[in-house]
Symmetry: C2
Subunit: 413 residues, 2 copies
């Protein structure tokens, strides 16, 4: 068979996904495979076995990311890297991340089936802790790999029980010794479910990710004052929870204001002290997230919130201060890799559309050290970070074949 | 000296309060002596020693409440009970509760000094876990004493670390064997700081508590849906934290609507799941508290919130349901005991005013089993449930003398 005619094995890819889906089940039929948990270890062990069975050499780096390498005919050339993550949200689904890692493995298995020897090596990667559900921030291991975040800082991050990332890695036996990054990559490809409704609504199986929404995040601290909820008159109160509630309502309204332009604004996390029914809280902290297809749009949302802070201070009597800010989504994907994905879909006769990523992905960090592209697949009703997240093999296989041939093209030159 | 001329020893009362204030210090100069903690045990041990030194027999009941008894000349008569609580809020002060328990001890010490033998026995009580800051609900031990709450249910209540009240009692050695309540009391008197600003503002040292604000509480559950904070469009979201924020804002506005009538409405506690920055929460629960001098007023506030629930459901897309309700504050104090407190103040030449309690107190429960009155003292700026809570001995001594002579009058008949 001519290499251009080979296709992935749909059944094998699906079976691997369904085996993964059994490890770390959630409480409502989905997944809850938190980074560096026992179930994460179980899935890692299975993945490593699968990779070795496919003839790959496996290396673990100091952040616990797993690299499975299929040799090239010139093994000294920088490899094509392909992958995503095997950890899930606390209430997640079987495809967010896993679809990409196991598509990478399926690419290698398919090349093995057909005896295709590539010029460059191909590596499949499982990035540790993409979700950030146990250890913040999200996408931590790819950030360290790309030199965005210091290794020591990341290893010291603690979960809510005070366990350090480095200690949790040791506990599951994935504290590897491979140095972090520092080596040349030919390119990086990541297949991922869209996590939004566009592909499904338009009936298009492949999203050519041309870039990202602009994303701005911030933590806002609300300072109030402890007082008895009983006798303290309304006009003497500085209830930090009231300040936080005004903030959350404002963020949500700002999101609605940019809804037509596909902007979103979210507060999904709050921290309150002492958080008891009988005492007005002196402290609250709210995490806010703004996303917009245009940089000007996201900046408009941030300015809108900043403009409302004086009113929120006035209405709650509290101090309200932005104490931390972050941003991402302006990382540029590679024009050559994007075009390759689009052209590959066309050559395979698979409908595709250009699309922006609205979520964060490890791929964003890797743009700092390699040419990058992403391929999106449809998922049911765009539902993700929910135990109902679902895709069918018909949703996934077309993109996996585009991935196969894009990787093959890069690895052959 | 004629019994009517005796007075408490201001210095001794203050010194005892200041010794108590050193046990279980807070982080900002106040107190953090949570119920059944090591510091609570240390304070209990000191209190028991003081009571024994004052010639009292000490009994501990099954909820760990401490009763120190000074014999009457007819010791078979029902005793006059006087007391309050030695536990504090997580961010509390040295007077909330302690002022009442140590005033009771000072009454006994003063009667000893002057060799006054009363007809009836007098008992000083320290009720366990008045604050409810570690184990909910508040005022739990007095509720069991009065037969309002079952003993087994109370012993099984757990703190946030999963430790049961009964086990925590055992751990500090205060799991007593005295049966709960079931015996006749002549009357119950509780001295307490006002925890509001009225007495200080009017320059009046004694508040004759004639009753309580009407208090209604509820837990409201908000049901949303997990989704990714990135790609999920605004019109597909059911963010439980947004529903909760609308609720908290509404509760606060309803409180302001009754501010002129001295009504208050509070949300001081929220619970959110999973409470992570990257996933819309599916669950939130908000505790709401309404207080008003008039029953009709508090019911107006509750109805106002109920009327706003449909709009909150609509604006957040969430389910919003009241899942638990409670009420108190309609317990009637004893007309005879109230009059006795007012008349005693007058006889001593101490200015007093009638006042309603705006906070919950153990006294409310004891109304079910005995005639009850309370005496309020001024506290600085009305601040309480705050580490800045403060009173001076000049604020406390007048009320303690009223307590002395009211108790003496009841115990002599």
């Amino acid at each position: 068979m001519k290499p251009s005619n080979i296709r992935i094995d749909d059944k094998r890819y699906w079976d691997s996904l369904m085996q993964s889906a059994k490890i770390g089940p959630g409480s409502q039929g989905g997944m809850s495979r938190l980074a560096l948990s026992d179930s994460d270890k179980e899935m890692r062990d299975l993945f490593v076995r699968w990779c070795k069975d496919a003839g790959c050499a496996v290396a673990i780096d100091r952040m616990g990311s797993i690299f499975a390498r299929r040799k090239g005919s010139d093994d000294s050339l920088p490899p094509v890297l392909v992958g995503s993550h095997l950890d899930t949200q606390i209430h997640g689904g079987p495809f967010d991340g896993c679809a990409g890692v196991l598509a990478g493995l399926e690419v290698i298995r398919t090349l093995n089936d057909h005896g295709v020897q590539t010029l460059r090596p191909i590596e499949v990667v499982n990035w540790s802790n993409e979700e950030g559900a146990r250890f913040t921030p999200a996408m931590m291991a790819s950030a360290v790999f790309a030199g965005v975040t210091p290794l020591d800082w990341a290893l010291a991050r603690k979960d809510k029980d005070g366990i350090a990332f480095g200690d949790a890695l040791k506990a599951i036996g994935y504290d590897g010794s491979t140095p972090m990054g520092g080596r040349k990559l030919d390119s990086y490809f990541e297949l991922h479910i869209e996590q939004g409704p566009q592909l499904e609504e338009k009936g298009i199986p492949v999203g050519v990710v041309t870039g990202s929404f602009s994303i701005r995040g911030m933590n806002i601290r609300v300072g109030g004052e402890n007082a008895h909820v009983g006798p303290t008159p309304m006009d003497r109160r500085r209830n930090a929870l009231v300040g936080a509630a005004h903030l959350i309502v404002a963020v949500n309204e700002i999101g609605w204001g940019e809804h037509q332009a596909r902007g979103k604004a979210t507060s999904a996390r709050i921290e309150v002290l002492p958080n008891l029914f009988g005492i007005l809280p002196h402290h609250a902290q709210v995490t806010c997230d703004f996303r917009h297809p245009e940089v000007e749009g996201v900046e408009r949302m941030v300015r809108a919130l900043e403009a409302r802070l004086p009113e929120i201070r006035h209405r709650s009597g509290c101090d309200v201060e932005i104490v931390e800010r972050w941003q991402y989504g302006s990382e540029a994907f590679s024009r050559a890799c994007i075009d390759l994905v689009r052209d590959t879909a066309k050559a395979l006769g698979i409908p595709s559309m250009d699309i922006l990523s609205e979520a964060g992905h490890d791929a964003f960090h890797i743009t700092h050290v390699a040419p990058v592209a992403m391929i999106f697949t449809p998922c049911e009703k765009g539902i993700s970070h929910n135990e109902k997240e679902w895709s069918k093999i018909e949703d996934l296989a077309p993109a996996a074949n585009v991935l196969l041939h894009a990787v093959l093209a890069r690895a052959s030159r």
